[in-house]
């Protein structure tokens, strides 16, 4: 990264020092699971001249996802992000409002057709043609269908946008759906969570900017670096699960001692997310639900979060690998080594004794004479039983 290039934008970056900036990019690279050199690449991409616009659409949402984004740590981050990605439309963060901001959005879409990143948070009601969420006189469904075809990348931020979330919970009176269902055939990155860790989104966006492609996604469109493992696998209380130290009531002894919350309904064993590794808020250890003593309720997982009862036991998805247990029935065929040797030896002795006996004894003549010699020892002396 050239000093000139950095200096040219350092004011825009809120006067952040070059070192702090590189540090930030390295942290982001780490959260993406990228190798050490990638931080520099990201930094270069950030200070590059041309930065694509982002349209952020919000529908049936609580704004928690945006709030979560604002809780990313560095104080000048808002500046950085807003400048970095040229946030052209956001209901929460835009300075403008009303028809002005709608006009700005339309202009940006027109100007950046095929180049902007579309981020959506909140679910979309579909009942009665979607009249239960209208912005600027248009239904959410219409807005999505107008905007999505022109986007370079579509990201569903939060569980609501990914699969319906709390908006689709219970009887789902508005028939709320996530945007993936409403955009069949389109590639949609989903960042589920309620809210998700902001770095899950930030890292995905920066990856896209740096490498011009999306990170590896799983079958549900979730970036694997964040949603590749269940919480149970990295949970700090996992040893307690394995040793059977469970809290059975809030406030009981085991709960106070930090025991596993499985019996209180923790959905960690069936929820794919990185909360147990990355935590929230960057304020130190334990800042996540399980860490503060409440079971995970599976907010990222369709069918678990907002669907299964909070205190129902989770179905453990990924079990301790079978290599750590001994086999129920080895069913070893054949004859084990020691026994084989022993049998060979015993048979050998028997055959040897019999053979020697026959060879030495059968041929001798004895017509009733006493045996020759007083002190002759017999051939089978070693088999003599006293």
């Amino acid at each position: 990264m050239e000093t000139d290039a950095f200096n040219a934008v350092s004011q825009k970056l809120g006067g952040v020092s070059r070192r702090d900036f590189i540090k930030f990019c390295t942290v982001l690279a780490a959260s993406l699971g990228l190798p050490l050199g990638a931080g520099e690449k990201i930094a270069e991409a950030v200070v590059a001249a041309r930065r694509p616009p982002v349209i952020w659409l919000s529908f049936q949402e609580c704004t928690g996802c945006v709030e979560s984004l604002l809780r990313s740590s560095h104080p000048t981050l808002e500046h950085l992000i807003l400048d970095l990605i040229s946030l052209d439309y956001s209901e929460t963060l835009s300075a403008a409002a009303g028809h002005q901001v709608e006009a700005a959005k339309a202009a940006s879409i027109e100007q950046n057709k095929g180049k902007f990143i579309l981020v959506v948070d909140g679910a979309i009601p579909t009942k009665d043609k979607g009249i239960y969420c209208k912005i600027g006189g248009k239904t959410a469904l219409e807005i999505l269908n107008e905007t999505a075809p022109h986007a370079a990348a579509i990201i569903a931020m939060g569980s609501c946008a990914s699969w319906g979330g709390v908006a689709a919970a219970g009887s789902n009176p508005t028939e709320a759906k996530g945007i993936v269902e409403l955009l069949p055939g389109k590639k949609v990155v989903t960042i589920p969570g309620c809210p998700p860790n902001p770095y899950n989104l930030l890292s995905t966006v920066l990856y896209f900017l740096t490498f011009n492609k999306l990170p590896d996604l799983d079958a549900k469109g979730r970036p694997k670096f964040a949603y590749g493992r269940i919480i149970h696998e990295s949970c700090e209380r996992r040893p307690h699960f394995d040793a059977g130290r469970f809290a059975t009531q809030f406030g009981d002894d085991m709960h106070r001692l930090g025991g596993c919350l499985y019996k209180l309904g923790c959905k960690g064993p069936e929820t794919y997310a990185n909360c147990s590794s990355v935590l929230f808020g960057e304020t130190g250890a334990g800042t996540w639900p399980v860490g503060v003593g409440h079971p995970c309720f599976g907010c990222t997982e369709k069918g678990v979060g907002f669907h299964t009862s909070l205190y129902t036991l989770a179905n453990v998805q990924s079990l301790t690998p079978p290599v750590f247990f001994s086999e129920a029935f080895p069913n070893t065929p054949g004859v084990s080594g020691g026994i084989k040797s022993m049998a060979m030896g015993a048979s050998g002795l028997v055959v040897g004794a019999a053979g020697a006996a026959v060879l030495t004894g059968m041929g001798k003549k004895d017509e009733g004479e006493p045996p020759q010699g007083p002190e002759k020892k017999g051939p089978g002396a070693q088999h003599k039983e006293g």
């Binding site: 086999e327 029935f329 022993m342 059968m362 002396a381 039983e385 006293g386």
Partner: protein, 400 residues
């Protein structure tokens, strides 16, 4: 002979002198200090060390037994083998005192003494094999009549006492306690009858020990008839052992073996062997698929064939010939075969027969060095004991 009067007083000195008086047996020409005896003493000493080690540190430290193979060399060879080799005692005692077959009288003392040492060997080995040797008496007072082992324990204790009683006359005779000797002689018939009863029961009970394990012990040996198989093979082996010892003592010591006794023993072995073979054939035919299992060249099938061939079939074939029964060298060879074959049978039932179950469960077994030492030491003890008794007691009272 040393005069120990000044150490232990005249009465005890008299007792010791009488005991150590070996003039009566000088004709046998037994030399006590020979290389062979020294080997025996060394083995016994090593066995004592192993026994102390085992008592101090537990069975796991002294042997290779494990949960997959809880019974090994000591049980199969020392106990099962030792007991069946001592079967000669009750057979000869029964023949002489109950059936009145006086011609076997001359081998009676030796046979009974041999049996006594055999049972001592088995009893000491059991004490070594169980984990809590000093409380072995608890097995005798528990009245667990469901347990074959309880029955075996009581029988073995009673029978060892019976054998001691049957052996006592020659001891009393040696030290001159004629009153005691007379008393014992009067009870001899009852004692012999009791001994026959006990022996019949526990020889077969040792086989019955395995009745509880139908899946574990291979079908090749397991059947409801296993107690009778054990009994008949013990009779075979007992008679062969008496014959073997008589011929052997005849070879190494100056003591002509009585030929009619030997051919009689040979006939007895033949009859027992035929009955045993008949029972085995019946079992083979009665159990579906068993003939195939035995002849299919498998590990256990081959062991069975070897045991039957060397221990039963070939000896029966040979003993049916008069030329064999009247030739002591040939008899000796046949006796060795029977001994080897029946001992292999005990090893098969005790160790190899459970191989399939144990191997499939992931187990293995090969006796440790200490197990071998203890076994050899026990055998050495029996041989040396017999030799000492032959030198100092009148084992062969009548020349034939």
């Amino acid at each position: 002979m040393m005069d120990l009067t000044k150490y232990i007083g005249p009465t005890y000195n008299d007792f010791v002198q009488k005991l150590l008086d070996d003039r009566q047996t000088k004709y046998l020409g037994i030399k006590l200090i020979t290389p062979f005896t020294l080997v025996l003493v060394a083995l016994i000493a090593a066995a004592v060390v192993v026994a102390l080690y085992r008592l101090a540190f537990g069975i796991g430290a002294a042997s290779n037994l494990s949960d997959a193979w809880p019974w090994g060399l000591w049980i199969s060879f020392d106990v099962l083998g030792g007991v069946c080799m001592a079967a000669g005692g009750f057979l000869i005692a029964g023949a002489v005192y109950i059936c009145g077959l006086e011609k076997y009288h001359c081998v009676a003392r030796a046979a009974i003494l041999n049996a006594f040492f055999g049972y001592l060997l088995a009893a000491i080995s059991i004490c070594m094999d169980i984990g809590r040797s000093v409380v072995i008496w608890k097995a005798l007072i528990s009245s667990q009549i469901n347990s074959i082992m309880f029955i075996v324990a009581i029988h073995v204790v009673l029978y060892t006492s019976t054998l001691a009683t049957e052996s006592s006359p020659m001891f009393f005779e040696k030290v001159g306690w004629d009153g005691a000797r007379h008393k014992v002689s009067r009870c001899m018939v009852g004692v012999a009858l009791f001994g026959v009863l006990l022996s019949l029961l526990h020889q077969s009970s040792l086989g019955a020990v395995y009745l509880i394990a139908p899946g574990k012990l291979s079908q090749i040996w397991y059947s409801q008839w296993i107690p009778y198989c054990f009994l008949l093979s013990a009779i075979m082996l007992g008679l062969s052992m008496v014959s073997f010892e008589t011929i052997l003592t005849g070879k190494v010591w100056n003591h002509p073996p009585p030929r009619d006794v030997l051919s009689g023993l040979g006939r007895g072995t033949l009859i027992a062997g035929v009955l045993y073979l008949a029972l085995k054939i019946y079992i083979l035919l009665d159990t579906p698929g068993l003939v195939g299992m035995v002849f299919d060249g498998s590990f256990l099938g081959n062991l069975y064939l070897l045991e039957m061939a060397v221990g039963v079939v070939i000896p029966i074939g040979l003993l049916s010939l008069k030329s064999v029964r009247n030739n002591i060298h040939r008899l000796f060879a046949v006796d060795i075969m029977v001994v080897a074959g029946v001992l292999l049978n005990r090893l098969n039932v005790g160790i190899f027969g459970v191989q399939e179950f144990a191997t499939r469960s992931g187990g293995d077994y090969f006796p440790s060095a200490m197990e071998w030492i203890l076994t050899l030491g026990m055998i050495a003890f029996a041989i040396l004991g017999f030799k000492l008794c032959a030198k100092y007691l009148n084992l062969f009272p009548q020349h034939h």
